[in-house]
Symmetry: C2
Subunit: 405 residues, 2 copies
């Protein structure tokens, strides 16, 4: 808990799962908290362990602990479950897997480009069609500056973050609620609607933060133009990524044609490790939401049929005497890379063929006493019903041909 406490803000603190101490935990409990029935104060004295809330804080702790052994810039990926006491709903779980990729110890924008390439390659490999959006926090700061609402930057960013959900008018109302003057709101909205890097270059040319953001964006674009991306990639001035610790580029990935929040996001943070006593280390990272990706792939039927559990062939022993030979044939097929299964006991042929059909196998190898004595099998195509005697030693090569044909 000492590692986790104070790292995730007020809401995060509320969503942390704590693990009850084992044994007589009341023996060391905070008496005063007990008497006052103060759950929050009591928790600290009866739960010294907490459940992992994200991968970023543990990673920051790791980097600080091993700072003298690591080679910087240091790259790592990490895939682990995390837990949050959120109300479960579509795309939101109390236990879920995060997949993080980060580079710390360099401010080079090469890494922003590499992380976009990773998103692109992963989603391309999974067969998912996505849009990768990128923006820069300093461009948002430049817009606030240009519109004379630099002191409202957080309010502006939080409002813009909802553009996808509530649209231009909704964002306007949000900004009004947060006491941004109407003249500024009009200006901000105009800028966000134009939104191209070119137009921003003109608009923000007197904001130093804004121009830093634009130059950084252009450098990242230039790297990515040198490669070739499979998915849509675009600058989006309306991408804001809520109230995070991001200070530079920010990323977000959405599935095209799927009603599911973002499949991933990330950005650059100027000072990740100072919370553990190592200031001034810049990093940039992205995260994949494994369960959401899984859900979208399921709904789009993108899991390949090779993941189906049906073996390619089922060996069928007709009586007790042929069991060992059938086991030997199965083992030999497997050793040669064929996905083979064995009906586990001698049974009537009809029963075994029914089982083979339920499994969905394309071939069965029937093994009776004749086959045992000639060390062969009766290979049967389950679709056509065609059968042929095949010597056990020739089974793999024959079957490989049929399966690939």
């Amino acid at each position: 808990m000492s590692t986790l406490t104070g790292k995730y803000g007020e809401e995060g603190e509320r969503l942390l799962f704590r693990v009850l101490n084992n044994g007589d935990f009341l023996g060391n409990a905070d008496r005063e908290a007990l008497q006052n029935a103060d759950s929050n104060a009591l928790a600290a004295s009866i739960a010294k362990r907490g459940m992992r809330y994200d991968l970023t804080v543990p990673f920051a702790r790791f980097v600080v602990m091993h700072q003298n052994d690591l080679q910087f810039p240091f790259k790592r990926y990490q895939i682990q479950p995390v837990w949050r006491a959120d109300r479960p709903q579509k795309g939101r779980y109390q236990e879920f897997y995060q997949c993080d990729v980060d580079v710390v110890g360099s401010t080079s924008l090469v890494y922003e480009a590499e992380l976009v390439q990773i998103y692109d390659e992963v989603f391309n490999t999974l067969g998912l069609d996505v849009t990768i959006r990128i923006n820069h926090r300093k461009i948002l700061a430049g817009i606030a500056e240009h519109c004379n609402v630099a002191e409202h930057l957080t309010a502006m960013t939080t409002s813009i973050d909802k553009w996808d959900k509530i649209g231009e008018d909704g964002v306007g109302i949000e900004m009004q609620k947060r006491r941004i003057p109407q003249t500024a709101i009009n200006k901000i909205t105009e800028i966000l609607k134009k939104g191209s890097l070119e137009s921003l270059s003109g608009t923000l040319n007197e904001s130093s933060a804004g121009m830093q953001g634009i130059i950084a964006m252009k450098e990242v674009m230039q790297y990515l133009n040198a490669g070739q991306l499979h998915n849509t990639f675009r600058f989006d001035v309306r991408l804001a990524r809520g109230l995070d610790y991001y200070t530079g580029c920010i990323f977000e990935v959405d599935a095209n044609d799927a009603d599911m929040g973002s499949l991933g996001g990330g950005g650059r943070y100027d000072d990740l490790t100072s919370i553990f006593g190592m200031p001034g280390t810049s990093g940039v990272g992205i995260s994949f939401g494994a369960e959401r990706i899984f859900d979208v792939m399921e709904s789009k039927k993108l899991f390949p049929s090779s993941l189906s559990s049906a073996p390619q062939i089922l060996c069928i022993p007709l009586d007790k005497e042929t069991m060992t030979f059938a086991f030997e044939v199965t083992t030999s097929l497997r050793n040669q890379g064929i996905s083979a299964d064995l009906y586990p006991e001698p049974a009537k042929l009809q029963k075994q063929l029914k089982y083979a059909n339920q499994l969905g196998v394309r071939y069965v190898a029937i093994i009776g006493e004749d086959e045992l004595s000639s060390r062969s099998v009766m290979l049967r195509n389950m679709d056509s019903g065609d059968q042929e005697i095949v010597a056990a030693g020739q089974l793999t090569s024959l079957l490989s041909g049929k399966l690939s044909g």
Copy 2:
């Protein structure tokens, strides 16, 4: 907690981690337990979630929930972290990964043989030299019966389980402590010392349980003789596997020449699913202890050097103008399967070569203005210092040759 409670015996119950309810958990706490400072009674009212303790109980629950959709015999493997409030020590962790393989819905001994094959193949692939031992609970029951101490079966089994640690004399003393008569102890010890299946066949020929165990052992052996195992595999009448729910064959795997408890174990359980209301389903399963396997592999330096994080080549941009071309070269190498990295900013050659040495890369591709204008790189072998100009388009094929040569 309702899934976990009552499944792991008294000790297991003590080692279960419970998760404190979020929010004002004291609001719904058991008043009486609070007043009596009864930690155990209170826990039930303030912690409705528990942490996974093993994979077997969740699996049993899954099978019962999906019994109408599953094809039996049903095979599955499962790899997940589990948590136990044990005192941490060498080879024992509070959080560790279990890797389970089970088959339910058949009593066929084919599956015992298949599971031994899985152990054998996995450890062979990992390069670990292990001994796989097997025994049958009914043989132990037969020995107890033969020695007229059937009512002491549990005491006898628990004592025998310690043979590896405390030896023949120690086991004798254990049995004395547990009130097994000395004449029986002498008889049991004699039988255990002979220990071959052949001698047991003679000794136990009037015990129906004992003979069932011996016949089963012989059938499993016969299957396994039909294949070829890489590791030592043997019957061991002194293998007992503590006080588990096993009722048939039992397995255990130990690393040869390593001071680490068992790396895996398992066995057949006649009635796994009855705790969830589905009686009479036999199953057999094995488990791998991932952390122990990792520890042994580390100590024996068995992790392949290909897992080292050093890329095969580092691209070195000498100035700002060459960054984009260097990024393009790196991307192209990666797309063609070369593990390549890019120094993230222009820097003096000496500084970059020093970094390359620290990383341990064998080759660097130096990219200055001459190389940029001719779309080539200066390929340098870090060991010999040899350099040559290579056209960017030829780099992958040339490098692949050098790396494999």
